[in-house]
Symmetry: C2
Subunit: 115 residues, 2 copies
Amino acid sequence: MYERKIPVDLDCPLRLTMSLIDSKWKSCILDELRRGPMRPSELHRALPEASPRVLDIQLKELADDGLVLKTIFPELPPRSEYAISPLGESLIPIIDAMLEWGERNKRLFEAKYKK
Amino acid sequence: MYERKIPVDLDCPLRLTMSLIDSKWKSCILDELRRGPMRPSELHRALPEASPRVLDIQLKELADDGLVLKTIFPELPPRSEYAISPLGESLIPIIDAMLEWGERNKRLFEAKYKK
DNA sequence: CGGCATACCGAAGAAATTTTCGGTACCCGA
DNA sequence: TCGGGTACCGAAAATTTCTTCGGTATGCCG
């Protein structure tokens, strides 16, 4: 079982929030799930640059942190689904603000990091 | 000279924004500088948990990315000052949203990650 | 002079994160 | 039976980030 190495920073509200979403793909996972529940395999297809393993791990952490809800259907072959929770929903304005900021300013960084 | 290993992700506006602030202390640095320009030594005292070296490096990256402005005073002993730039200012609403979210929800995680 | 301060940088190692590869178990279709 | 799919996990390797330590240079104060 994987253990979260750096637990959330409870003393600083900013770092607490960051620690929940600052790994490589968590914000993207939340951005995908906002449009509706998804199965792990759908998520892997939606974010093909991420290794499936890290999506598994980060989905589990998101679920442990209560930002995402996991439903297991007792079927064969196995099926499960991840949906954004109300707590996760409350992060959407932050995700949106970052999306808008990136959209507004990407030209600046295209010039800087071109190629 | 240190090179940024993972350049910003230009294709995804969300990851572009994240890549500018998701290192361990960058959001905290911006949160400090919003209240006015600071000298490196002041920042080290304001964020004593961060190693001075990583503050140096992240300040430099923030400056390279245009989020922070550096002023060197041609004095001896040397003096320099870092101030948030207009582009950095435009990230403040995101920082604020994360601060508020963390403040609102920290009780949830105090219970979960207590001790 | 010795100790402390300023600012900054390089390099080595530690630590954390992510990737890659392998495995479990089951089902379906060719 | 073989190849593909589902979901999930462990372990090792690779990568990235952070820390620690040392160094440059200068000046002030006792």
